[in-house]
């Protein structure tokens, strides 16, 4: 019998970062239909930073959360509708209750990799409402496997039915994946997963390493459509796993069709590994920073790479985008001191 791997599709959530959260109804409907036809097990939909995140800080979405989820719901039957949730942005009263009324099936309850205890109430609430809940630990390159296991065990104890390690900065190499995934697999009673970013060109290799290390859930995005350099390219994942004789339940031809549809109708620019993505992967900064960093670099006439390196030095996490302007002002000040002294 073939071994099973569950592929979770984050295109309509992680991909939102790539188009400044401007998904429209038509795009959501088209892609959900295509994913459903291809037999994708679950589709995550929403603002790049998740439910309730639309803001000046991380960008406004074109549509309200409930509009995005409603249109996705209308176009999904077998494929589960998933949301990304982060305490600090999302609240039960303002956001989760409404999403559950619309009929979300699956919740990715996410937090920075050392903060699992802030997810307790949301996980308990979602489970009480009969939802499937997967714990998502983000920026996992920042800490050891022992700390990751401790945090994952907390989520497991709150009711999470699986744990996914996010390589939010695209900083992992396969040996890091092997070390951390196999350690979690042996320490937990629930399935483990991996969410790759492609900053160093390792997304597919890392995802496959995760599977070989015992991961049962792999995140992918169509054409890699995600923040920064993008995610593990979903249709490539499906193909490689098929070649390796894993069972994903996804029809290869139909997911290739879905990729065409997404490329024509949703993806403005195919993800490529740009210089900034490489720098962000190396400096360990969340890929979602590349757009705002480029914008601020242009505005303040600075080298975006310098901003990234400084952000990495300050160990920023997602949601701290307001630091970009402060770093830019600091660099500007340093530059002008340097210039004036060298001129004088």
């Amino acid at each position: 019998m073939r071994k099973k791997v569950y592929i979770h599709d984050v295109s309509l959530r992680d991909g939102s970062h790539a188009i400044s959260h401007k998904l429209d109804k038509h795009q959501i409907a088209l892609y959900c239909q295509a994913a459903e036809k291809a037999g994708v097990p679950s589709v995550e939909v929403g603002h790049g930073n998740g439910l309730g995140a639309s803001s000046i800080q991380v960008g406004f979405s074109r549509l309200e959360d409930i509009e995005m989820l409603s249109i996705a719901r209308e176009n999904l039957t077998k494929t589960k509708l998933a949301i990304h949730v982060m305490p600090g942005f999302t609240t039960i009263n303002k956001d989760l209750k409404k999403a559950f009324e619309i009929g979300v099936d699956l919740v990715r309850e996410a937090c920075h990799c050392t903060e699992a205890d802030i997810t307790e109430r949301h996980i308990a609430f979602a489970r009480d409402c009969g939802k499937e809940v997967i714990g998502a630990l983000m920026m996992t390159h920042m800490v050891s496997k022992e700390i990751l296991l401790e945090e994952a065990i907390k989520m497991q104890s709150y009711g999470a039915e699986g744990i996914v390690l996010y390589d939010s900065a695209g900083a992992y190499l396969p040996e890091n994946v092997r070390e951390k995934i196999s350690y979690l697999v042996s320490g937990l009673n629930i399935p483990v997963g991996f969410h790759a970013h492609n900053n160093l060109g390792m997304a597919i290799a890392n995802s496959i390493t995760a599977v070989e290390s015992g991961a049962k859930i792999i995140d992918g995005a169509i054409r890699g459509f995600g923040a920064g350099a993008g995610n593990a390219q979903l249709e490539v994942l499906a193909a490689v796993l098929e070649k390796m004789e894993y069972e994903t339940g996804i029809s290869l031809y139909k997911i290739l069709d879905a990729a065409e549809i997404a490329q024509e109708n949703i993806i403005e620019e195919l993800p490529t590994i740009k210089n900034l993505s490489i720098i962000s992967g190396l400096s360990g900064v969340f890929s979602g920073f590349s757009k705002p960093v480029s914008r601020v670099a242009k505005e303040y006439e600075l080298d975006a790479r310098d901003i990234f390196v400084e952000l990495g030095r300050r160990k920023v996490v997602a949601g701290q985008e307001d630091l970009i302007v402060e770093v830019a002002l600091d660099l500007k000040k340093k530059n002008s001191t340097f210039n004036s002294s060298s001129n004088g």
Partner: protein
């Protein structure tokens, strides 16, 4: 019983409660007669015992049984617990300063509405992010009533957020949003809280962004600067690091709050600002009570 000081009790021995204790010990107007929680082994409790403070692990029960021991109580437990405590203190007729986001009593930002709050017997200090941001939102509202939208993002060091704060994140957001709207009169508000695990710890930082068409920047600067110097009187580590700046269609400003380093290190400006607010309220209350007693 100290003659020239008001007796206060502290309920909750976590980060907030213990830092409050140190501040009360330093205060000219307050005396801590009881420090109560549920666990005599906790870090805060050991600290209090070492300082020679009367402690108890009977939590609310000891306060209910011995109302004569204190005139005012700080509740530094959690929002859900305060809902129960509030009823008991109401019955006992005790002044309560509630540091949880339970929102039972009047919302207080000392630099804006202290006098009005002292008329009440349950005063809520809103949230740490609220204490940092609401005065500035209020200043914006003075210049531009009917602001369309105000957004507040606070980043705090992970280590400065105790278990109480962590389970209260939803209430934190909702209470701060209410406060922003109430004090600034803006139409809509959004609050985001980021726990930052970076080591060394980051100082508390709060960014306020407001959507304003054609802002009067000189009036905004004047009101904001006035407010900042008012706050600095009781929170010395409160600093405007990005002054009001007009960008696109919004006004953005950032404050950084360094704590006094009383119990937790100075990065925990979030604890410091809410506790400084609570102490300011208690001291004002104490002055008025002591004055009345003297007159009698």
């Amino acid at each position: 019983m100290k003659k020239n000081k008001l007796n206060i009790a502290i309920l909750g021995t976590g980060n907030i409660g213990t830092d409050l204790l140190i501040k009360v010990i330093k205060s000219e107007f307050l005396h801590c007669s009881l420090f109560v929680g549920r666990n005599l082994q906790s870090k805060g409790m050991s600290k209090a015992i070492n300082l020679g403070i009367t402690v108890s692990d009977r939590s609310i029960d000891i306060l209910e049984d011995n109302p004569e021991l204190y005139d005012l109580v700080f509740d530094a437990t959690s929002a859900s617990q305060h809902l129960k405590h509030a009823v008991i203190f109401q019955k006992l007729g005790k002044m309560v300063i509630d540091l949880t986001p339970a929102r039972v009593g009047i919302l207080c930002v000392p630099s804006v509405n202290l006098a009005e709050c002292l008329e009440e017997n349950n005063i809520n200090t809103i949230t740490c992010g609220g204490q940092a941001s609401i005065p500035l939102a209020y200043a914006l509202g003075l210049v531009h009533p009917n602001i369309e939208y105000i957004e507040v993002v606070s980043a705090i060091a992970s280590k400065s957020a105790g278990p109480g704060t962590r389970v209260n994140l939803d209430e934190y957001i909702e209470t701060t949003e209410k406060g922003i709207q109430l004090f600034s009169k803006c139409k809509k508000s959004k609050v985001i809280l980021i726990l930052n695990p970076a080591d060394p710890c980051i100082d508390m930082q709060t960014t306020i962004q407001a959507t304003i068409q054609n802002p009067d920047m000189s009036a905004i600067n004047a009101e904001v600067n006035k407010m900042v110097s008012k706050i600095q009187k009781f929170v010395p580590g409160y600093n405007l690091i990005v002054p009001p700046t007009f960008e696109g269609n919004r006004v953005i400003m950032t404050v950084r709050v360094k704590g006094l380093g009383d119990y937790l290190p100075s990065y925990a400006g979030n604890l410091d600002i809410i506790n400084c607010a609570a102490i300011t309220i208690a001291e004002e209350y104490s002055k008025s009570v002591l004055l009345t007693r003297k007159l009698k």
